[in-house]
Amino acid sequence: MFDEVVTILENRKVNAEYYKLIFSSKPLSQNVLPGQFLNIQIDGHENLLLRRPFSYYRVQGNRIEILYEILGRGTQVLAEKRKGHTLKALGPLGKPFTQKLKGKKRVLVAGGVGVPPLVFLAEQVQDKTKPLLLIGCKSKKEVLPKAELRKARAEVRYATNDGSYGKKGFVTALLEELIEREDPKSLFIQTCGPNAMMEAVMKMADEFGMEGEASIDERMACGVGACLGCVVETKDGFKTSCVEGPVFSFSELV
């Protein structure tokens, strides 16, 4: 783990939902696995005190890409940063998604801030069966540009709330369709996104006997397991999402 000052190479709006941040760092790009994150100090000023956790979206050589939404004060300030501005980033942090699956078909269920780490995972995996990447968003305006999904080794399907792109409804509707076609027990779900979405996915997983894991996003301060602010309720009690997570298996979670 390294705490590095990085210089922004690019920081621009990608679509109605996402901004893309690019910087370069050798230490922060070594041995990174999808599902891991960086705890970024956006501003040195005391007013914006805490760091913010961001999933890795893409790593190529020393080049690191982050895809983010404006969700609060921190990301608002981040969106105003320009090329040449610096940030302080601590990472790589956290437990990644399972990379190698034994025979099961990988189904990635993503929404909102959960899209970037799962696209990263879809680009990295080398499964025999092509994984499925199911993405949910509000409307066509939030759908990622094709170029962003070009490297994903997965079949990508979208669900939009208003039906303006892909299937109309929540992303779980795509999962329901899939279960009708394929044996749920042959699937392995990896999900990241809004809590309501992940809860719905885990409920289906429980009902149909699907294994899987979820990346849980809690408010975080230190990122190193000290403050106990980001804990997640598991069968073995509270666990830190920064060190013991953010990826937890469905069977661990309460």
């Binding site: 783990m1 705490d3 100090q41 005391e46 007013n47 914006l48 005190l49 805490l50 760091r51 004060r73 302080k88 601590l90 809690e218 408010r219 975080m220 301060a221 230190c222 990122g223 190193v224 397991g225 000290a226 403050c227 106990l228 602010g229 980001c230 804990v231 997640v232 309720e233 009690g237 509270f238």
Partner: protein, 330 residues
């Protein structure tokens, strides 16, 4: 010519190699920061609060960022004293070589382990003190009688006689030096401080967090599941400094000061006001190397001022008596 800078700070028989330590609850209870901080370079390490039994802690969400600060309502999550003695102390004993601050046969000075404890009754505090008294690796105890996030957390600093009773009982139960950690929530702050000193507290720790609240306007709910949380960070620094000054004006007692110390400049404000030790808290979450950078900054300041000993800084605050008259006490 380079002059050697002496940062050694003494509290009773305890010799600290420098005044830099960490605030309880912000540095974990074991090796959370070992990748970023050379533990031996700290004057002392203060653990997260240890309680008699396992405490699950409060429900989520537990933290929320506020302007220049954060609210937390962790609720003293820890595995209890027996787990601490079995699994945590041996770790510190290994890396810190017994926590001994003596010059062990000419070897360099190691650091101190100060264990922060909290209970719901005097008996709890006494039991914890007795158990830790037997442990070689422990240098001192910090009595947390000011946690705002648990039931009865603030009870023992609500009234001076309650403070006196708990500190006296612990004092009678252990030979370990005692730091009593106080909260500005105590209505009779100076009375409580005086009671702790009279009962035999070797030092005071000032200040614990101050209760605050924030609201999610979309859900019309408090931002914390516990509703209230302790406010820490730069937002409370001026308040912490004020309490330190009030205590130092009234009593001759060493103080471990904490409250929003982020930089060497902040630490120096507390040292000048009279603190023996400065504890870095919330800053650890923002900058894991904060303690090390603060120590370097203190040395740079001393070089610039041509001070060779930290004693020159401590309590060097200049106030005119005429000005002081107008500062209301308590």
């Amino acid at each position: 010519m380079t002059t050697k800078i002496d940062l050694t700070t003494k509290i009773g028989n305890l010799v600290f190699k420098n005044p830099a330590t960490v605030a309880s609850g912000t540095f974990g209870s074991k090796d959370e920061y070992i990748r970023y901080v050379d533990y031996e370079k700290l004057g002392a390490i203060v653990t997260k609060t240890v309680t008699p039994k396992l405490r699950k802690g409060n429900p989520m969400p537990r933290i929320y960022e506020t302007p220049s600060g954060m609210l937390n309502a962790i609720g003293l999550q820890n595995k209890g004293i027996d787990d601490f003695i079995e699994n945590k102390i041996p770790y510190f004993s290994t890396i810190l070589h017994g926590g001994s601050a003596n010059l062990c046969g000419g070897r360099k000075i190691k650091t101190h382990l100060i264990v922060n404890i909290a209970g719901e009754s005097i008996e709890d505090f006494v039991m914890l003190a007795k158990k830790l008294d037997r442990e070689d690796g422990v240098s001192a105890l910090e009595l947390n009688i000011s946690c705002p996030n648990v039931k009865k957390g603030l009870e023992f600093c609500a009234k001076p006689d309650l403070t006196y009773d708990v500190v006296k009982a612990v004092k009678d139960a252990t030979k370990l030096p005692i730091f009593t950690k106080l909260s500005p929530e105590a209505r009779d702050f100076l009375g409580v401080a005086e009671a702790a000193i009279k009962a035999g507290s070797n030092a005071l720790s000032l200040i614990n967090t101050i209760r605050g609240m924030a609201v999610d306007i979309e859900k019309c709910r408090p931002q914390l599941a516990n509703v209230f949380g302790g406010l820490s960070g730069p937002a409370i620094r001026p308040i912490a400094l004020r309490y330190l000054h009030e205590v130092k004006r009234e009593f001759d007692i060493p103080v471990m000061a904490m409250g929003g110390i982020m930089t060497a400049q902040d630490a120096l404000e507390f040292l000048i006001t009279g603190a023996h030790l400065i504890a870095v808290g919330t800053a650890n979450f923002v900058n894991p190397k904060a303690t090390m950078e603060i120590l370097e900054g203190i040395e740079d300041y001393m070089k610039r001022k041509s001070y060779t000993s930290i004693d020159k800084i401590r309590g060097s605050l200049k106030t005119k008596q005429a000005d002081e008259k107008y500062i209301p006490a308590g």
